[in-house]
Structure formats: C-alpha cells, structure tokens
C-alpha cells in the first residue's frame, strides 16, 4: 500500500512542473472501516483525499456520524486508516505527537492540575523529564515556564487569579480558553479542534470564535476545526470542507463540498456561503436554526 502511494506522490511531482508549496497535511484516498468480528464492517470514510497547506484555517462540517471526528483523528494519528494514508509534513505517523495541538469538546484539561500547571504541563514534560526538577537550574526553568504561561493566560482573557484554580472551578468557556493556551504554548504546527465550542452557550461561543480567529491571525498556525454548525464553519474558516454520504448508508462519507471562503465583512456574502454549506450538508432539511451565533468582528 505504501510503495504505491509513494510512487503516486513521485509521479505527481514529476508531471506537475508548476511548483506548489508542499502540503502540510496530505490525506490520500483514505478509507476507514470499523469492524467487529462476526459483523460486516461499518464504513465511515470512503476515498477521502485532501491537501492542506500551511496557514489554512479549515473547518470540517457535516451531519452527526458522517466521519468529521474520524477525519480529525486520522490527522492526529490517533486512528489509522484502513486504506490510504495520511501524511503530515510528508511522513506517516504511528501515534499523536507534538506537531498537532488538540482541543476536544470534553475532558480537554487535566482535572488534577491547576490552570497554571495545565498550561505548563507540555513544557515541563518535554524539558524537565519524568522525575521532576529540584535543582536550581530546573527551578529557574520552571519559573520561566510559569511566566510564559501567565502571558498566554492573559492573552486568552483570563485573570492571573485564575491560575491557581482547578478546572472544575472554571466555566466551560474558561476551560476551553485554558485548553487552547495549553495547546498553543507548545507552538504546534497544526491545531485540531473537535467541536471545541459546541458545549458552550451562544454568547460565550461567539467570544471564543473571535478569540480563535485572532489567534490564528497572530500565530499563523494551521487550524482544523470540526463543527456541525455551518455558520460557525463559514465565519471562522478560510476553507470549508463538507462531508456527506453520496451513496447508501454503508458506503461511507466523502467530501461533498470544498469551498474557499474570502475574508469579508459583507454579511450578505457570508449569508450566501452559509446557505450553500447548509444546502450541501443538510439537504432537504431547513437551516439549523437552533444555534444562533454572532459573526466575529473581522
């Protein structure tokens, strides 16, 4: 499987003299099946191919159960495709690593650590090692981590007094802010957000949308944002990928829409994009009106 795919890549490079920037994430003809012994396998994704360039803000939309999160887990390397391959910076991976930051919808923070400890965890675990640090040099390093973490905390709109709180003492929105800080402090190449704002109430949610868009502009991190809300997908991303089933229920989902979204303030234009995404993602049904969220101020 791998040699063929590699040959394919080589072939592509040769036949296309026009040099395009190498894709940061390269998903090649991926098929995912979940099998239980004794039952026919359930096909989730079928023949998905996608190239993602550095610096893109991509949102993945689709109905519940169409494989959005599966696609994200493939990029994360938490899951392996049944067929095809997923390359990040040109190489396949066997398990999640530092290149991807991860902000899930739930359980995004370590409940046993304070806010500050949560944010510095990544730095400590990579720099200080398993047995902690008690030497003066280590203590100094740890203080540097803490002041860096405080900086991130402020940037996320949290107060310094929140630093010593435990996650269960924070609201859902604050928890997600800390989770984003925790991921960003490691300077990941890719930030993966799996329905990260879906559990938040509309007011908090639009604030978070504004924050993530600003952070994306500042850091230039590539963001993959999974959501089931077409509006959120359009107002955040530079490119919207919609997943849907084209064949029967057992055929698995594929990309049904790949839409570039211009950075615009024009409400009418945004509305027309949202409508397009809605029509492809939820054909037949009306717009999802249960979630009303404000557009970010561009």
């Amino acid at each position: 499987m791998t040699p063929v795919a590699t040959a394919q890549t080589l072939l592509d490079e040769k036949t296309e003299p026009v040099s395009i920037a190498p894709a940061l994430i390269c998903i090649q003809d991926v098929l995912v099946e979940y099998g239980q012994p004794g039952k026919p396998p359930k096909r989730i994704l079928n023949g998905v191919s996608l190239d993602i360039q550095p610096g893109e803000f991509i949102s993945i939309v689709g109905q519940t159960g169409c494989g959005k999160s599966t696609l994200l887990r493939l990029v994360l390397a938490e899951e392996m495709p049944t067929r095809g391959q997923v390359l990040v910076e040109g190489s396949p991976r066997r398990q999640p690593d530092r290149r991807c930051g991860y902000v899930p919808q739930k359980y995004s923070l370590f409940p046993d650590r304070t806010v500050l400890e949560n944010i510095t965890f990544g730095l400590e675990v990579t720099e200080v090692g398993v047995f902690g640090g008690f030497s003066p040099a280590r203590r100094k390093l740890r203080r540097e981590f803490q002041s860096e973490a405080i900086g991130y905390l402020r940037r996320m709109g949290l107060r310094e007094s929140d630093a010593s709180k435990y996650p269960h003492q924070l609201s859902g929105g604050m928890q997600q802010r800390v989770a984003i800080a925790q991921a960003l402090i490691m300077r990941p190449k890719i930030l993966l957000m799996d329905e990260a704002f879906s559990a938040l109430d509309p007011g908090t949610r639009s604030g978070m949308q504004r924050l993530i868009k600003d952070l994306w502009r500042e850091t230039g991190t590539t963001i993959l944002f999974v959501t089931h809300n077409p509006r959120e997908a359009v107002i955040l991303a530079t490119r919207v990928i919609a997943l849907g089933r084209t064949g029967g229920d057992d055929e698995g989902a594929n990309i049904v829409l790949d839409l570039s979204v211009p950075d615009t303030n024009d409400e009418l234009k945004i509305a027309s994009f949202i409508q397009r995404v809605e029509q492809t993602t939820f054909p037949g049904s009306g717009a999802e009106s249960d979630e009303v969220t404000g557009a970010p101020e561009a």
């Binding site: 994360l76 938490e78 398990q95 999640p96 690593d97 530092r98 991807c100 930051g101 991860y102 899930p104 739930k106 359980y107 995004s108 370590f110 409940p111 046993d112 650590r113 965890f121 990544g122 675990v125 990579t126 398993v130 435990y166 996650p167 269960h168 925790q182 991921a183 490691m186 990941p188």
Partner: protein, 284 residues
Amino acid sequence: MSVLQIHAHPSRTTVWILSWFLFATGIVSYFSVSRDRHRENPDDRVMPTLRQMGQGFVDAALKPADDEAAANASQQSLVARVRNGMLWKDTMATGRRFLISMALLFPAVLLGLHMGMFPYVGSFFQRFVLFFDKIVALSLLPILFIAFGIDELAKVMLIVVGVAPTIILDAFNLTRSVPKEQIVKGFTLGAADFSITYRIVLKQIWPRVLNSIRLNLKSVMLFLFAGEMIASTDGLAYRIALLRRHMGMDTIIPYVLWVALLLFLVDFGMRTLNRKLHPWFQEA
C-alpha cells in the same frame, strides 16, 4: 403516613434522634438483659456488665503480655506498663501485618495501571487475574500454610491473595475509564508513554484507587483475622480466639469494639487524607 415518602424532609433533630436510635436500643437492651442475668447468677460470664468489661479492658491494657515483663511490672510507669500490656502488643502485631499487606497492595495498583495502559501487558495478565479473583482465598489457607509454613509469610500471603486481585482489577478498570482525550492530549503536549502513564493517568486515578483500597479494608481485616485465629501466637484475633476458650466475654467485647474503632479511624484517616491531598477530586 408521610414517613415513607421520597420527598420527606425530616428535621435535623429528627435525623439526629433517628440515627442514634438503634445504638441506644442496642445498648439499653444489652444492659437490661445483662442485669437480669446477673441478678439470677452473679457469676454469669456470657453477658458481662459494664464494670466487668471496663475491668477486662484495663486488665488487657495493663496486664503484662509475657512472664518476662510480668517480673518487673511493679516498678514500671503507667506508659511502660501499657507498652508491655497485652492490648498494646496485640495491636502492634496486628498493625504490623496490616501495614505489610497494605504495602504489598501498592504493586497491585501498579500492575493494574500497566494492564490498563499497555495492551500487551493487559492481554498477558488479565485472564489470569480474573481467574485468580474467583478463587476463594480462605480455601487456599491450608495450601498457604503448607507452602509458606505457619509463620508471618503465610498470613501476609493470605491477605495478598485475597485482596490483590480485586485491587488489580479495580486499578485496571479505573485506568481504562480515563477519557481517551486525556491520553491523546498528553501525546500532543510531547509526553512519552511512561510520562502519560504516571504523570497523567496514575495521578488522576490515585484518589479513586485509595478509595477502592479503603473500601477493601474490611476484606483485608477479614483475611488477617482468619490467619491470626488459626495460626498465630499474638495479635488481636489470636487473643479473641484464645479468650473464647475461657468464655472471657468481658475482654472479647472490648476487643471487638477496639478493632472496630481502629478500623474506623484508619478509614476516617484515609478519607481525610484523600480529601486533603486531592482538592481537585470530585466524588462522582
């Protein structure tokens, strides 16, 4: 009747009275029966009076446990007499075995953790531990005595064989119930396998593990007492078994209450410690 209603709101005084009612009834009826029996037969040994039990307890606390201590008992201070007393020595002997068993349960926690984290370790041990869990530990007692002799090792092994499988499986299940997100998050933050195992998962399940050990304290004590009653020359259960031969109810009852008190204190201590050490822990 409004008593059997789910939405009943008993007042605080009522709750207080109700919760102590059975204690009061038990104590009152014991002593009234005891008094009646003693009126009929002043030498009754089955239901000693409060004073007899008090005397029995003081005797147990102060009476020297062996002849050597008895020889120079008269010129010793009260503290020294207590420390040479039966009760103190028995408590120390039982406490030592208890602590050794608890220390041996720690590797059981680690085994469960690794079984839950690493699929190879899990598939290597899981079936065997499940099988072992179903063996009635007390039925192994003769085998243990034959294999390890009748000294300390056999008794400690009985406790370990009896309780360790439960602890292993508990730790295993707790490990498995840590959300996948936490482990993935650990990897994306640059942690390696063992950092995730110890610094994320073990740390998170630790209060629950302590809880599960706390709930298994009774089994620990059960196996400990079984071992002591059958083959021992000291310890609280040895004493209770010994006093049974003399119908020494005046000492047996205080001993039983003393054991209950000790167990309660250990339980309370562990609970408090757990709360103090893990302020983040939210009891589900």
